[in-house]
């Protein structure tokens, strides 16, 4: 079942990722991005990263993207007007992209070191206990530094978004 699930959710991720770029309205882009994040969370689960998969849903899909949608709704952002796209870009761009992707695929085939395989359930080191233990022992300093970073971000966001009082 592993490859089936991988292919299904990889397809959803890529299709919605393309949709993020192609959609004209920011709300559609944002919802496509939520779908990308949800399918990535499933892919994390397939690799045994239970805690990170849930954190992905809570932090990314549940908080960051809600904030995006909130701002889009608040600013009433409309569809983006397209102008200044030349057909020359299309003519030269499409072959260039195909060539790029082709060479990328070639180098991936040949130059990639031999890596292992992922089978669901063969590594259980990504549970909440393991992540928490590493976070509070080996990575304690980065963790504390991030808390300072978040504090700075909160202060910055409030200062930036505050209406001028006078």
């Amino acid at each position: 079942m592993d490859p089936l699930f991988f292919l299904l959710f990889a397809f959803i991720a890529v299709a919605c990722g393309v949709n993020v770029v192609l959609q004209k309205h920011p709300i559609s882009s944002a919802l496509s991005l939520v779908a990308v994040m949800a399918s990535l969370a499933v892919l994390y689960l397939l690799q045994g990263a239970e805690f990170i998969a849930m954190a992905q849903m809570i932090v990314y899909a549940g908080a960051i993207m809600v904030l995006f949608i909130f701002v889009i709704m608040l600013l009433n952002a409309g569809t983006e007007e397209t102008k200044g796209r030349s057909w020359m870009a299309l003519i030269f761009g499409v072959p260039a992209i195909i060539g790029l992707l082709g060479s990328l695929a070639y180098f991936m085939q040949t130059g990639m070191p031999k890596l292992g395989e992922v089978k669901f359930g063969d590594w259980k080191g990504g549970g909440a206990y393991e992540v928490g233990y590493a976070l509070f022992t080996q990575y304690l300093l980065p963790f504390e530094v991030t808390s300072v970073l978040i504090l700075i971000a909160i202060v910055g966001a409030i200062v930036l978004a505050r209406k001028e009082l006078d």
Partner: protein, 113 residues
Amino acid sequence: MDPAQVLETLKHGAVPTAWYLALSAVLFVIGVAGFILRRNIITVFMCIELMLNAVNLSFIAFAHEHKQVAGHLFTFFVMVVAAAEAAVGLAIILTVFRNRSTLNIDEIESLKN
């Protein structure tokens, strides 16, 4: 390839780590393309988030490859930084919109020249 073999692989096989890395690369490239192509500042910002997500997938894949939890922690930190970035970035977007009432990045160019 033999169809029966393909079916067998799909049913019981394992996924090579390289597939995850390839998916991560594809998503990253989509993010870069959106970052360059789009003009709405919010969409551009979302494309940055897409790139961060793609990188996270690589981290998780390598964590599984080396059977170490460190990759998960990097992902965790990336998430935290992304949250902070979203808060500040959206505040900046709000301020810009209040001052110029546009979200088109081509029109926000007063620092040019």
